[in-house]
């Protein structure tokens, strides 16, 4: 049985949708604890050298651990996770969280592991899934599904549960983006639609016909940044053990997913002067050099390399800027004092370190498209003020460095698992 299809057509999609739909009742009947245990076993398989080449695999394997999944579900369902397995008391009534049914998913190409990640989110709350995988992620997804298929546990009643059983309720496939009829067919099979992607993908999918009851869960185009106040900057620049640890955490946020995730930082606003930003940039570059040595880049798109080399020249020539970079295109830190403006993220370990007189100046440029802001703000009053103002501007997450890419709840302003279920009350 193949769970993944390199190029599906209308007949194939219809057949796969029918197969998946047929597995819905079995899927809905599985205890949540068994599902968590199975995915935990899957995580063990992914955390092996066989998958070491997959970008972001360590993060996925950690996230798939039982405790992590249980925490995700608990946070997402407001502590009512038992409602996934049956009605639970809620004051004078009872509540049940039932799967929505068929979840159609459009996966973005920026993170190779995203298809599996998104599938698990939905499957964990017992949905069946039709997942359109980007062409460039097919090979990685195929390998991961092969590992999942071979994963098995023995449940509390002594019965075996395997990845194969779960995959009876899932199909992964690719079809060309311009095939509007297949997009429409997929959309019309959905009880919920999940879209990860840029503006073009969102516009395409959201314009497709759908059933009235269909729920849309949209993870749209976002980018992320960091705010560093004077105290935080001085700690990093001072190179104390604590400062070095912060730099390590920040650089880990940069390296994970090669800065292609919506939660990856691209611009760090540093309170102070150009000289202050330069010192901070130099410290970060030192840490980037260390971590790049341990975790070298595997490749780079030509266009990205060209963009980085253009910026290196610009920042190398300019009197009021600076640049710290590896001799190869491994990492690049671009320092300026352009003030509270945004720059297009370049990705591939490229950071803008931008001096601003006050972090409060940055607030007006933050829009709902800013997903995560990494905060290194020692001044508690300032941090609280910024948090309140940034929340008003539309930011989704405020975290300390090291946690920017840690998938938690809420994400993009919503509790994902909550959106994957229908709540039923019984009074």
């Amino acid at each position: 049985m193949s769970w993944i299809h390199d190029r599906i057509d209308a007949t194939g999609l219809e057949s796969e949708a029918a197969r998946v739909e047929g597995a819905a009742s079995n899927t809905a009947a599985r205890p949540t604890a068994d599902l968590s245990a199975l995915f935990d076993a899957f995580a063990t398989k992914l955390a092996t050298p066989a998958f070491a080449d997959v970008e972001g695999i360590a993060f996925l394997a950690t996230w798939l651990r039982r405790k992590s999944l249980e925490s995700t579900v608990r946070a997402s369902l407001g502590g009512r996770e038992a409602a996934l397995d049956g009605f639970v008391a809620d004051g004078s009534r009872k509540l049940r969280a039932a799967p929505r049914g068929i979840v159609a998913q459009w996966i973005a190409g920026n993170i190779p592991t995203l298809a599996v990640f998104s599938f698990v989110l939905s499957a964990l709350v017992k949905n069946v899934n039709l997942v359109r995988v980007p062409k460039e992620s097919l090979a990685v997804v195929r390998r991961m599904l092969a590992a999942f298929e071979e994963t098995s546990i023995t449940d509390a009643s002594g019965q075996a549960l395997s990845g194969r059983d779960i995959l009876e309720g899932a199909s992964f496939f690719y079809f060309p983006g311009e095939d509007r009829s297949l997009h429409a067919a997929l959309s019309l099979r959905a009880d919920a639609r999940v879209v990860w992607g840029g503006q073009e993908t969102l516009a395409t999918v959201l314009a497709l016909p759908r059933h009235e009851h269909c729920e849309d869960i949209v993870f749209g185009p976002k980018f992320s940044l960091g705010l560093i106040d004077t105290g935080g900057r001085e700690r990093v620049v001072g190179q104390s053990d604590e400062g070095l640890a912060i730099a390590r955490s920040l650089v880990r946020d940069v390296l994970l997913f090669d800065q292609a995730a919506c939660s990856s930082p691209h611009i760090l606003y540093v309170e102070g002067t150009l000289e202050d930003a330069r010192a901070f940039g130099r410290a970060l570059a030192g840490e980037l050099a260390k971590q790049t040595k341990r975790n070298p880049k595997r490749g780079i798109a030509e266009g990205t390399a060209a963009a980085i080399l253009r910026l290196r020249t610009d920042y190398g020539l300019a009197e009021d800027r600076d640049v710290f970079a590896s001799s190869a295109v491994d990492y690049t830190v671009l320092v300026d004092a352009d003030g509270p403006v945004l720059s297009e993220g370049v990705q591939s370990r490229t950071l803008f370190v931008r001096a601003v007189p006050s972090l409060r100046d940055v607030v007006p440029v933050v829009t709902p498209q800013v997903q995560t802001i990494g905060l290194l703000v020692d001044d508690a009053g300032l941090a609280a003020d910024l948090a309140e103002r940034l929340a008003q501007r539309g930011v989704s997450r405020l975290v300390r460095f090291g946690l920017m890419n840690v998938y938690d709840q809420p994400w993009d302003g919503l509790f994902a698992c909550d959106r994957f279920v229908r709540w039923i009350s019984w009074t």
Binding site: F223, A260, C262, A301, A306, A318, E319, A325, L342, E344
Partner: protein
């Protein structure tokens, strides 16, 4: 940021490498052993880099900040490179303003902002000699009737000169007389069929030389004359050199063979006489013309380094890399090593079937722009490119 930073008024000192530069231009081209060529060029390039760095603070900053150090620069990789787009944003001039005899501007087809390259007399002299040295190898020394597939206005006398104008002028040493094939009606280029027919009636059997910008040749000459069903010749000894604008033609799905075939049919010349050359406004005087084997060869006073996009190391034969053009011609601006957004394929380090020595390559395309996809699209409502 001060985009246009003024240069130090300290002029580049008279070059101690002038003789080396001229010697490399004057000698019979394409006969140098590749290792020997790199050794000789690097010696000149090193001295030139130091001179630019002492005259131009911005360039000195770049050399320092990007870790190129003080040399010695024994390999092409050691020569500090400037991304060619910098000439759109910075006034990179290593000589005082009063020494500038001409400012060459690029066509600005991609970004909308032209590069501005400041040329002094020694640089201009070298460029003219260098272009002639390269093209002599391709066209021979005899002067030929010259049909410019452009309007005369493109080569108007001025202190500034477009890349088109510079290229048109570069071929004048090979011309016995010059005819402009197009008229400028307002802002529109229009073929003057009568003038072209008169040119071919008179010169078809005199091995005429034609030149035009690739996109203009295609979109104006081929499109209009093809529509009219016009053709000239036969002119079996004619040759057409063309350059620039491939990006637009690629978008129109026009490949080199189709281009050559259509142009050859209109002018009555073999398609094999339609020769594409690679060059840029930022390095006037350095051109890479297709050889009979279909490869491009750097002349002795220049070279190409095809860099791996990640490691920036030179690629091996058969591999693709970002094209960096090295040249010892520029004295008035730091154009010794210019990294482009073009990708080439290194065919070989030596031993091309055409008989020319040294590195030979082909142009593949502009860099493939990174496809911005996914939830990590770095889209900003108030987008400012840093």
């Amino acid at each position: 940021m001060s985009i246009m930073e003024s240069t130090s008024q300290k002029s580049a000192a008279p070059t101690s490498t002038d003789e080396d530069v001229i010697a490399l231009i004057d000698q019979a081209q394409f006969r140098l052993d590749p290792a020997e060529k790199e050794r000789r060029l690097c010696a000149v390039l090193s001295a030139q880099v130091d001179r630019h760095a002492s005259a131009l603070p911005a360039y000195a900053r770049l050399v320092d900040r990007l870790g190129f150090g003080n040399g010695p620069r024994a390999r092409y990789e050691d020569v500090p490179f400037v991304h060619v787009s910098a000439f759109k944003k910075f006034e990179l001039r290593s000589v005082p303003q009063d020494k500038v005899v001409r400012v060459v501007t690029s066509s600005a087809t991609t970004s909308g902002t032209p590069s501005r390259i400041h040329i002094d007399k020694p640089t201009s002299f070298r460029q003219t000699k260098a272009l002639a040295a390269t093209l002599t190898d391709v066209l021979g020394k005899a002067r030929r009737p010259y049909l410019v597939l452009d309007a005369a206005e493109s080569n108007a006398a001025s202190s500034s000169l477009s890349a088109r104008g510079a290229a048109i002028r570069g071929l004048l040493p090979f011309a016995s007389d010059v005819t402009y094939a197009l008229d400028l009606n307002g802002t529109t280029l229009v073929p003057n069929e009568d003038r072209m027919r008169a040119f071919f009636d008179k010169n078809a059997d005199r091995s005429p030389l034609l030149f035009g910008f690739t996109y203009i040749v295609w979109s104006v000459v081929v499109a209009e004359l093809g529509r009219r069903g016009t053709s000239f010749g036969p002119a079996p000894g004619a040759a057409l050199l063309h350059s620039g604008g491939w990006k637009k033609l690629t978008e129109l799905a026009v490949d080199k063979d189709v281009f050559a075939s259509k142009v050859g049919a209109i002018f009555g010349m073999p398609a094999s006489h339609v020769l594409d050359f690679y060059g840029m406004a930022e390095q006037v005087g350095v051109v890479f013309v297709d050889c009979t084997a279909g490869n491009k060869h750097p002349p002795d006073f220049a070279d190409v380094l095809l860099r791996d996009p990640l490691t920036l190391d030179r690629v091996r034969p058969g591999e693709a890399g970002l094209i960096e053009v090295l040249s010892i011609l520029p004295e008035s601006y730091p154009g010794q090593a210019l990294l482009t957004d073009d990708v080439g394929i290194l065919v070989g380090e030596d031993g091309c079937a055409c008989g020319r020595r040294g590195r030979h390559f082909r142009i593949r395309s502009r860099v493939a722009q990174a496809e911005v996809r996914g939830c990590g699209d770095t889209f900003a409502q108030k987008r400012v490119v840093g």
